[in-house]
Amino acid sequence: MQQHPTQKYTEAELVTLLQQRNQSAFSYLYDNYAGAIYAVVCSIVPDNTLASDVLQEVFVKIWRQIATYDSTKGRLYTWMLNIARNASIDTLRSKGFQNSQQNREWNEAVYEDISSTQVNAEVIGLRKLVHTLKPELKTVVELAYFHGYTQEDIAAMLEIPLGTVKTRLRTALIKLRTIIKP
């Protein structure tokens, strides 16, 4: 478990240094955030090898897009979190991953052997909390946050009104907020 970053840079200093392409600031950013971001990736991408690739891709994106980060729109971590979630969901939806999952399912069916690189994404981070919610709330958050479906998609998939999706999502998020509140 990684500890909360020891305050060496303030967030503003860190952003400024990153925008100046400072190598040690990037190294510091990685040391202090990679663990948290990796947990987010692992909670979406259920394959450790692939999750490592995604983590690397996420930090490359952070580095290359840091100029577009606007601190008035939110905290640096929130920005990085959204990059990580989008990259993870993109991977989940990519053709290569779907093929590898098909192969995996086939292998499992034949040998009943789950490769050691597979992790149960459902026991990590926020997803673990989501799985303590009531089934109808859990389903909506699962589809929205961990699979990236829009509220309209979810309404169509579950054949329930859009308003119901919205209510369930918000109810679930309020519950999650109270659980994670320090």
């Binding site: 392409r21 190294s27 948290a36 971590y77 918000r170 998020l173 994670i180 320090p182």
Partner: protein, 282 residues
Amino acid sequence: MDIQAYIASGVVESYVLGLATNEERAELEQLLPQHPELQDAITAFEQSLEAFHHNEAVAPPPSIKANLMAQLADEFATAAPPPLVNNTTPVVPLTNEPTPGNTVVRSIQWWRNLAAAVVALLIGSVALNVYYYNAATEAKQTAQELISQNNSLQARIDATQVRLQEMNNGFKLMADPNVLTVKLTAASNELNGNAATVFWDSRTKDVFVMNTALTPAPAGKEYQLWAIVDGVPVDAGMMGKCAEGVCKMKNIQKAQAFAISLEDAGGNPTPKGTIYVLGKVS
């Protein structure tokens, strides 16, 4: 608007987690400048989310950082320009001890850059390998598909050519003035519509038959051609394999008529089944 109720509605969390719809996001961003408490609620949730994730952190494989630093090596700002070497540099006495300071740092930097370049090249090469492997696999598959398509096309051409040959033979027989054509028509009213044609070469005495319109033979049955010689039917061959086109039958020296009957598969020495069609040699 009751801003406290709005804040408590869950919209803040959807916004931070990237789950808000475009309208929700636009509405919130519009309210933001006038309501500092809304901004506070957002920041508070961002902070607790960040703290939560830090507590739940999972250590990534150590190789990732090394890969990352190698991948981005060219994109980092150089810390300081290297000192210029000029002619007045005093000659450094030759010793076994490496000169401390800049030289060592620069040498390490040089090795580091080289290592980074090597790693980057290796990664590039692996990526290219994977790319070319995939491309080659795809090409192989396409080629396989084309070959099998080509084979089935060839088979169809062969079959068509055989039929064309048969039809040509039929035309030649019909056009030959030395070949007699005998039209065989239904033997009874119930069998109306059945028909066949016999071609009899008057020089070689070869007999050919064309199945013009015979009811398809049921399983276990086969049509048999007979030459009627002085009132006695003589076996002229089985038509089992002659479903279409012109087929060569037995050689018949003399006949006044031809007939086709439906017999057990393999045929009979004398007709036992129903006679379907018959025709006199004119």
